[in-house]
Symmetry: C2
Subunit: 492 residues, 2 copies
């Protein structure tokens, strides 16, 4: 496929080219598949589909850097081929299987996943096969496609390696990649990146040539996210955030030269990215340092508003991918893709003072955030990178609508029934109602600020009633434990 | 005091020596005091006592790096002089004032406190006065005493500086200190420390000489922790931990050369430190990389079992301090004290692959940990550094007895009513009953492991009943929300 010239460029040297079905037949029943992919792009497609079609009785462990497409989290799930899944899934069939216990799942922070696979217990007893998508491959190297994610760590950890070369990905995307490996503790090096948009590595992931078991050619495109159009609430949240950011950059010496900012994955994050262009930052540079490039950033790049953008994934819609692919060389001047353990590195988020803006399912009156489990029980997608950014940012902003389900549910509740981010990691909350700056607040002050500034007016009285009950009980965090979870119990 | 020779060594140059009462009189009613101290040592004593004795109507904000002594958290509290307190307190009067709302309090992670003071909102509207203890001072430098904590960051953030020079601290302690400042985001440097016991700074904290407002001489000693003797449970937990560690160092390539380990502050941590000498590590080096040096480490140092020990505080008992003070030069060969933002740096904990061993009040069946709030409401001390180590360690161990209150309360509960560390950050749990390795577990597996391996037999049936109720409801985390907090509600 693709003609001789393209094949020459993408497959360099004497490589073990095989069919996906042939490769799938060699995968042991209880293998751990370490798959590339992040932000629903750059994941392998042909081998997972061949495994799903094999009719075999598989019990695979599947580990991905982040979100992947339906070839894995739909087809393999529907074939009942996945026994264990880490650390993120975002497709309804995978979610259903996780929630009814058919798939054993545990979500983990993005930044440390590579190490956990390498040193911890996140894989099964069977063989470890890295199956990664690339835009080109040689005897001891590959160039990732539309995301890097945990590919370098996975390739390093695997017993053997299968590379899917995707001819639909322009080879020009190589110019986006900056692959750097920091070494292994206790001899891990300080990451020498001193500029959020800087480069310290190369375009290639290298490996021991003995590991390369198969190269599979494919022309199947990513099945990426589709974003909904911004809602009225999204726009009001964006306006509230903009006003807050404009005040904060004037106030804090952290932002004398520039604003470094991250937005979480999703439609709200995409809308907030898009609205960033309207923010008055004076003559400060604007730099994006996050985990995904979403469509909202492309306009900013086109308009020259962004000095640099750093991420681990081009998590664009299909239209966004087309737009980027057609102008890959130009975008590569400003955009750099890194391994996920660098894009989400706590050391780098801290070093660059990145403002973190992430959404959530709900948060409680004392600043604890639930990002993953509806009513404390039903898994949504996974914690993703929100923990990395919330923890290490000097200014962690949680942005969310004050209600869900058309107003029937308040997203500000007495107590969240699942905590992904604690009160220690949340600085500011923004809803369509307003902004609550929680820094330096005692819990009682936090509760008052959230009720008055962020909660929907329809729920303020009930939240205040709860607080009054708690206050009559006393304690630093004035919960009324007997009724703390009533709002969730009622919904069961 | 102390004679001419000592005064010459400790006070160098023409310094503004004043009495504590005189200095206290200049402190504004609503000032923010940024006080030195960590692990209940190295905090200022004379000026806080003078403020407490002033009879003035004060509303101070007091920020410390960690735990400080009774001169602050008893005397100033009883004088009703503290309006706000960050981020840790460990004395009953301070705790009582926090819990009844007289003092506004919020605990924060150790690693980021310096930045929060410098860039965030953790201080009040009034002047910022750094009041720090030193063993020697000059016109533009000081040498910290028995802890470093956040002194460098506080001195940098303060409007003016008061130095208490304590003549009871041997000047030989200067040899312990390695003061390094990483600069300010976005121009913060990668921390160039490549060896847990290495040195990258000097003994002095330097400052703008214009800031030095007063030097106060004192001879009041630290009022440090006293540790209880190890209990039977402590010894069994230590034995269980030892067996686990011996297996793990053989299994994981992380520990081929050495074991780097941290223990939390407290009597259990002290007992576990002391028991570490019995662990069979083969020919591996043993290195301590934590936040405090407790008495348990002195024996290991004496016996040559430790290659290096790195911390921010000499949090010893009075007897331990005497022992260290008498042999300061010898101990300084192996012990290095760093600023708290380095001792607790996520980047360094990750880089060195430090095994973290921290205690907790309780944890729940799905691995969430409560370290700070009894029954979700009443504050104990603060989260301290446990979050830094649990989050960034490749192997985070929670070690605690399975019960409290003489067996009347299970420390393993259906749902914790306050979360300081989430399921994403806890790898292994050790009680006197056994060890549960949670890595790679789905929540249901985690619950079963905790019930079978770690819970006290008296509570296993009740915990299993809870799990069965939850499982009948379904969901990834099978909570029974209606009864999840009953174990805490009953205790109110």
């Amino acid at each position: 496929m693709g003609g001789e010239r393209s094949t020459t460029a993408r497959l360099q040297g004497d490589l073990p080219v095989r069919s996906a079905a042939d490769v799938a037949a060699d995968v042991e029943d209880d293998a751990t598949l370490l798959v590339s992919g992040f932000g629903s792009v750059g994941y392998p497609k042909a081998v997972p589909l061949a495994l799903a079609d094999s009719g075999r009785d598989l019990a695979l462990t599947v580990v991905s850097g982040g979100s992947v497409g339906e070839e894995i989290d739909v087809a393999l799930v529907e074939a009942d081929a996945i026994a264990r899944r880490f650390p993120y899934q975002a497709r309804p069939p995978a979610r259903a299987a996780v929630n009814d216990g058919r798939i054993a799942f545990h979500d983990r922070d993005v930044s440390t996943l590579g190490d956990e696979v390498q040193f911890g217990g996140l894989t099964g007893e069977g063989e470890r096969v890295a199956v990664v998508e690339a835009l080109a491959v040689g005897a001891d190297w590959l160039i990732p496609s539309t995301s890097i994610g945990q590919t370098p760590a996975f390739v390093e950890s695997a017993d053997r390696l299968v590379v899917e070369v995707n001819e639909t990905v322009p080879t020009e995307l190589a110019a986006f990649h900056d692959v750097y490996r920091p070494g292994t503790p206790p001899n891990r090096d300080p990451i020498p990146l001193t500029d959020p948009g800087g480069r310290i590595g190369g375009e290639r992931v290298t490996f021991d040539p003995e590991k390369l078991d198969a190269v599979v050619e494919t022309d199947r495109r990513d099945q990426p996210y589709s974003f909904r159009d911004p809602t009225d609430d999204d726009r009001t949240i964006a306006a509230n955030l903009r006003e807050f950011v404009e005040r904060e950059v004037e106030r804090s010496p952290l932002f004398e030269e520039s604003l470094r900012i991250q937005f979480g994955v999703g439609s709200l994050g995409n809308a907030l990215m898009g609205a960033l262009g309207d923010t008055d930052l004076g003559d400060r540079d604007l730099i994006y340092f996050g985990e995904v490039i979403q469509d909202g950033l492309l306009d900013l790049l086109d308009e020259g508003e962004l000095t640099a953008a750093s991420a681990t994934s081009l998590a664009l819609s299909t239209e966004g991918q087309d737009r980027l692919f057609e102008n890959a060389e130009r975008y590569a001047e400003d955009v750099v893709l890194r391994p996920a353990d660098l894009s989400n590195s706590g050391a780098l988020i801290d070093r660059f003072g990145v403002v973190a803006v992430n959404s959530a399912l709900e948060l409680d009156l004392f600043g604890h955030v639930n990002s993953t489990h509806v009513d404390g029980t039903r898994a949504m997608n996974g914690v993703g990178g929100s923990g990395d950014f919330n923890r290490h940012s000097p200014l962690a902003v949680v942005a969310l609508p004050s209600t869900a389900a058309g107003g029937d549910i308040s997203r500000i509740v007495p107590m969240v029934p699942h905590v992904d981010h604690t009160e220690h990691d949340v600085d500011v909350v923004v809803t369509e109602q307003g902004v609550a700056d929680l820094r330096g607040n005692a819990p009682r002050e936090t509760a008052r600020a959230l009720v008055e500034e962020c909660a929907h007016p329809d729920y303020r009285d009930d939240l205040t009633d709860y607080l009054n009950r708690g206050r009559s009980r006393g304690g630093h965090i004035p919960h009324d434990i007997e009724t703390a979870l009533d709002w969730h119990a009622d919904r069961d």
